[in-house]
Amino acid sequence: MNDTLIRYIEEELLGGEQSIAAEDDLLSSGLVDSLAIMRLISFIEQEYSIKVPPQDMTIEHFISVDAISNYIKSVKVS
């Protein structure tokens, strides 16, 4: 799951110019802006057939690829 997310972020959101690691802080560094986050969320919803409700859009869930993977897994289980 991490690899798919990293590939999407690198290729679609960062224009293939930058590589990231699963633990990198996506939000504080300015790596991705708020529009890119919205695109990332729609990608996650399609790719993993889940719905991300607005109240789940928190820093804890989206700070890094690791955090996003954990979040998706927790939604899938429940």
């Binding site: 939000l27 991705v32 859009m57």
Partner: protein, 526 residues
């Protein structure tokens, strides 16, 4: 007596040294510490040879160090110039050169982005970078070293209220960004007027959502120190996660909020507001672009204990009008700009520069204590932006031409009707559409270019471009969008560039923007 901006910190530190001045994430500075640290930075700048009138860049996003940098630079007698770490490196280099910036203040977190700007140090003209450890052919001074300097005294620079305090860059229609120059007088006039209008005092906690290159940030950075209030700087991550932002407003007990409408709309849509205690929040200010009334109504119903005000004013005058929204609006009619505030004169004029009759539409001119000094090194542009007349007593009155078309409604409130030129607001950012046109035309393979805005499903402006290729020069959309990426910030780049055989023109031979808008199907709105 307080007549230049950092004196506000000295006065507040004298009265309330222990009170929090700036808060960001789990770090904060009280007024005593802020007084000390700004002295230390000013001391260092003086040692580096910075003199009165020099320009110093601040390459930072929302963080605690912005407060030290802004007031430390001004204490040294220099003007601060906010630089956006998200901007393309080429654009930042243009600003560094245009403004003759030799020293930049930053934080280690922006190391990678700054590295791209100073790839070739000799081209940027920088002599020092403050806030980094490693050197790239340019000497650096880390923050740790700054905070070891003696800081009990402010350097003895003779600063007058009419001296330059800061320069904020904005989109320029020629393709070159323009620097809006403000003095200590205009900055302090804003601080005093806003403190009085919103009754701010040392018990307030002001939520600052805006980056420092937006004039909205001056409420947190100038007004709060004047009244010894605390400013909560919203960290970068919170601006992207509305549900977390809602929690931050509640847990930090913000009493006053000021941002562009979009941040508030996202809060409403986060559906996270019901469960939180927002009882401390007494006043919500919004500005930068119109707030869609239906969203404002929802927010006002969610926060019945808070007052809401629409703030209007181009960065050239910072703020000039306000409208206190009396109750959740019953219709979806646009929220008025309201009335000019104290120490300010508004005048509506027609195409011949003559005042319009009562209730007629025209361009709004503003004369105020908060008005800019002019555009940096652009006397001709400054001259064209001003309207001057000599009163009977022989003294010249200088008005700023806002370019905004307004009229006065029956209640005497100003109502915004559109722009006189081709400037639009994208998520609160000012964009001159002709800056994009000029940038496209500078590409060798571009023959003609048209840039026009289209509304998306959410009613927000989206920029489109139509281009024809120069003879024998094949061009693709990808090449052009990569080219624009080098020069334009993200918000100013077209969402879609179409390569086409021709561009529709009016009978007079002008580009037919109306036809372009009407025939463009927005991808988000099939």
């Amino acid at each position: 007596m307080v007549y230049w901006l950092p004196q506000t910190i000295e006065a507040s530190a004298g009265k309330f040294p222990e009170r929090e001045a700036f808060i960001c994430s789990d770090r904060s500075l009280n007024y005593g510490e802020l007084f000390l640290q700004t002295n230390q930075l000013a001391q260092l700048l003086a040692e580096l040879g910075v003199r009165k009138g020099d320009r110093i860049g601040i390459y930072m996003h929302r963080c605690l160090e912005t407060a030290v940098a802004i007031h430390g630079i001004m204490k040294a007698g220099a003007a601060y110039v906010p630089l956006d770490p998200h901007a393309p490196p080429a654009r930042t280099r243009i600003l560094l050169q245009d403004c003759g910036i030799r020293v930049v203040v930053t934080i280690p977190g922006h190391r990678m982005a700054l590295k791209k700007v100073v790839d070739e140090p000799e081209q940027t003209g920088l002599s020092h970078i403050i806030g980094l450890k490693e050197e790239w052919g340019i000497p650096t001074i880390p923050w740790e070293a700054v905070f070891q300097l003696p800081g009990n005294q402010t350097p003895g620079v003779n600063i007058l209220g009419s001296d330059l305090a800061y320069i904020m860059y904005t989109s320029g229609s020629t393709g070159m960004p323009k620097g809006i120059m403000h003095t200590h007088n205009s900055g302090l006039a804003y601080a005093k007027l806003s403190a009085a209008l919103f009754g701010l005092n040392e018990h307030d906690r002001i939520g600052n959502h805006s980056p420092i290159y937006f004039d909205i940030s001056t409420l947190g950075y100038f007004t709060a120190p004047l009244v010894a209030a605390a400013t909560v700087i919203v960290p970068e991550a919170y601006t992207k996660m509305p549900a977390s932002l809602a929690q931050l407003i509640a847990t930090t007990q913000m009493t006053v909020w000021y941002s562009v409408p979009l941040a508030l709309i996202q809060l409403v849509q986060s559906e996270a507001l019901d469960s939180l205690d927002m009882s401390a929040l007494r006043w919500v200010l919004f500005g930068g672009e119109p707030f869609p009334t239906k969203h404002l109504r929802t927010l006002m119903e969610l926060w019945p204990g808070a007052r809401f005000s629409n703030i209007y004013g181009p960065a050239e005058v910072n703020q000039c009008t306000y409208y206190h929204v009396p109750a959740p609006p019953e219709t979806n009619a646009a929220i008025p700009l309201g009335r000019t505030w104290d120490n300010t004169q508004g005048m509506i004029i027609d195409e011949q520069d003559e005042p319009v009759s009562e209730g007629e539409t025209g361009e709004l001119l503003i004369r105020s204590a908060t008005m800019m000094h002019g555009y940096w090194k652009q006397p001709e542009l400054t001259r064209r932006s001003l309207f001057k007349r000599t009163a009977d007593h022989g003294v010249e009155e200088i008005f700023y031409r806002t370019g905004d078309l307004v009229k006065k409604d029956a209640e005497g409130n100003l109502v915004f009707l559109g722009r006189k030129d081709r400037q639009i607001k994208v998520r609160g950012y000012r964009v001159e559409l002709d800056e994009i046109v000029n940038r496209l035309l500078q590409h060798d393979a571009v023959e003609e270019a048209a840039v026009f805005p289209v509304k998306d499903v959410a009613g927000q402006w989206v920029i489109h471009a139509r281009v024809t290729a120069a003879p024998g020069m094949p061009i693709t959309e990808t090449v052009l969008s990569e080219y624009l990426q080098e020069y334009l910030p993200r918000y100013a780049r077209p969402e879609k560039i179409t390569i086409s055989a021709s561009i529709p023109r009016t009978a007079a031979g002008k580009i037919n923007h109306q036809e372009l808008q009407e025939t463009t199907t927005n991808p988000g709105n099939p």
